[in-house]
């Protein structure tokens, strides 16, 4: 079952959150809404990973490759070709989806951990190409000052663009999870053999899920280009993939909003802690250990279970 996001009450909170996000640039200085747009786009990245991981049970270990390819695809299109910048921005996610299809076709024959290991290797290969191909991708330094369409070059323009694209993406992903495809995907996660036996072509559904999650990772990548106006190879280094996976686990990987909350927590922890120490990942490590010990379903998963438990008890009493 799709947890943590259902019914009118949740819809109210979502709308309230959207209104707050909408007025944010009017009341807070630039640094804050820059951070919030980072949270939104990383939340989208984590949610796209969770589409495969939490709902499809696919061990997508190196998800950031698609984030990076989406970003580089758009950045290269915008700075090296003369096509319309809006089309250029769309190229990013499409390239990510195509790469996801190719890597998926190679990896999907393996299952679980083996899938994850092969995926890390192939992903690192893509990273190495970007890292080494100095002439085309800018190598280690990445690319800066990417010419964006005028309306989204300003801070607030980039913020609202991110806000709208994220809202639409979250809505589309949510619809997909609630659709028959989403049901079949969750069935595959729980039991692939059984899914085959009720007539679901497991590999093909998993491949489609990978392409979808690759596409939305690419969207997140493009948003990064818009917000930060730059790309660099570390965006697709495997450590970032782990960080995104931690976002899912931290927030609750069996819930829809979990990864977004996880992204928020990590960005806040990083921003605050890195002001005091450069070893902020040490703090993250400790927090992660505590979460695994005490909140195995993640932060949101914990609260969902707690409130559901209370509702069940009330029903018994009534």
């Amino acid at each position: 079952m799709l947890q943590g996001f259902s019914g009118r009450k949740d819809l109210f909170w979502v709308l309230a959150g959207m209104i707050i996000l909408f007025i944010l640039p009017f009341i807070l200085p630039r640094f804050y809404y820059y951070t919030v747009s980072m949270i939104m786009l990383l939340g989208l990245l984590a949610t796209s990973l969770n589409f495969a991981l939490g709902y499809g049970g696919i061990y997508q270990f190196h998800h950031c490759v698609f984030y990076g390819v989406g970003a580089y695809g758009a950045a290269i299109m915008l700075s090296k070709t003369g096509i319309s910048p809006w089309v250029g921005l769309l190229v990013g996610p499409l390239m990510a989806a195509v790469l996801s299809l190719i890597m998926g076709l190679i990896c999907i024959r393996l299952s679980k951990l083996y899938f994850g290991m092969l995926q890390i290797s192939l992903g690192s290969l893509v990273w190495a190409i970007i890292y080494r191909w100095r002439g085309f991708t800018g190598g280690e330094d990445g690319m800066h000052g990417i010419p964006l369409p005028g309306i989204i070059t300003s801070g607030t323009g980039a913020y609202y663009f991110t806000f709208i694209v994220c809202a639409v993406s979250f809505f589309v992903i949510y619809m997909m999870l609630k659709s028959p495809f989403g049901s079949a995907l969750q069935g595959i996660r729980d039991n692939p053999v059984r899914s085959e036996m009720i007539g679901v072509n497991v590999k093909r559904h998993q491949l489609a899920a990978l392409v979808i999650c690759g596409f939305f990772a690419g969207v997140a990548g493009v948003l990064f280009v818009v917000v930060d106006n730059s790309v660099f190879p570390n965006m697709m280094f495997w450590t970032l993939s782990m960080e995104v996976m931690i976002m899912c686990l931290l927030g609750g990987w069996l819930t829809f909003m979990g990864p977004i909350i996880g992204a928020g927590l990590i960005v806040v922890i990083r921003t605050v802690a890195s002001g005091y120490t450069e070893y902020w990942s040490l703090i993250l490590g400790i927090i992660l250990m505590l979460v695994i010990f005490f909140l195995p379903d993640g932060v949101l998963g914990y609260f969902v279970n707690k409130f559901k438990g209370r509702a069940d008890k009330q029903m018994v009493k009534g």
């Binding site: 049901s183 969750q186 729980d190 059984r194 007539g199 679901v200």
Partner: protein
């Protein structure tokens, strides 16, 4: 309807199924019996495509389905339940059956219509038939063992099969649950006209509901015949009772 011709399968030298033959006619209930490790589940896995046979053929409605993938075989009209409970743990009872129905209708590629609105009636009808209607919203992982075994059957029914394979449907069930399950199997055969192939250790159940029985020992078919034939067959006696000449049951 289903014919199995000299089917064989070995795992690293262990001959799990060895020259098995079986013939099931439309509308029949056929039981496969045999001691533990005789290859009954392997045989079912071979029929349903989970395993590929080393040699031999599986014919369904005169069409060769040997070596097809499980989902393709399911689409041909053969569905099954599993001996070890094999349901979607995190989904509700309703959703478990619903996915099966959606899959049969080829709707699992629909990305944008909420599942909630689809195939409700049929799912509810199946749940009502098997007696799980009241538990429709429970998470299936939290059901009792007996209920999960019934859910197994309900999911197999979601595929609207012509041919149903049940792997030890009553294993581990309490007495009342077993009685209910036997009733259910009889109903499926009589009212819905399903052809059923099942295996079971409970001899009482086997002799009370099957039209014909196939006996497997060490992977091979030693006899396929009516209950009477099987009951007094010498080879069956040897396999089950170590050579005494009393009739089974």
């Amino acid at each position: 309807m289903l014919q199995i011709k000299s089917l064989s399968k070995s795992f690293r030298g262990f001959q799990a199924v060895n020259n098995a033959n079986l013939d099931v006619k439309k509308g029949e209930i056929v039981a496969v019996i045999g001691p533990n490790g005789a290859g009954k589940t392997t045989l079912f896995n071979l029929i349903t495509g989970i395993l590929k046979p080393d040699s031999g053929k599986v014919l369904f409605k005169d069409e060769d389905i040997t070596g097809l993938s499980p989902h393709a075989i399911c689409k041909k009209g053969i569905t099954r339940s599993f001996q070890v409970v094999n349901v979607f743990q995190r989904l509700s009872v309703f959703e478990n059956v619903q996915v099966a129905v959606l899959s049969r209708e080829g709707k699992t590629w629909n990305l944008f219509t909420p599942s909630k609105k689809l195939v409700r009636e049929e799912t509810n009808r199946i749940l009502e038939n098997v007696g799980l209607k009241e538990k429709a919203n429970n998470i299936s992982g939290a059901l009792s063992h007996g209920d999960r075994k019934v859910l197994e059957i309900a999911m197999a029914l979601g595929g609207n099969p012509e041919f149903l394979i049940l792997d030890e449907p009553t294993a581990g069930m309490a007495f009342e649950e077993t009685v209910r399950c036997i009733d259910l199997i009889k109903q499926l055969s009589e009212k819905m006209g399903l052809t059923i192939l099942f295996c079971e250790h409970d001899m009482e159940l086997v002799f009370s509901i099957s039209n014909r029985i196939m006996v497997m020992v060490r992977g091979a078919t030693i006899i396929q015949g009516s209950c009477e034939d099987v009951r007094c067959n010498q080879a069956v006696q040897d396999a089950y009772l170590g050579g005494s000449d009393v009739c089974l049951m």
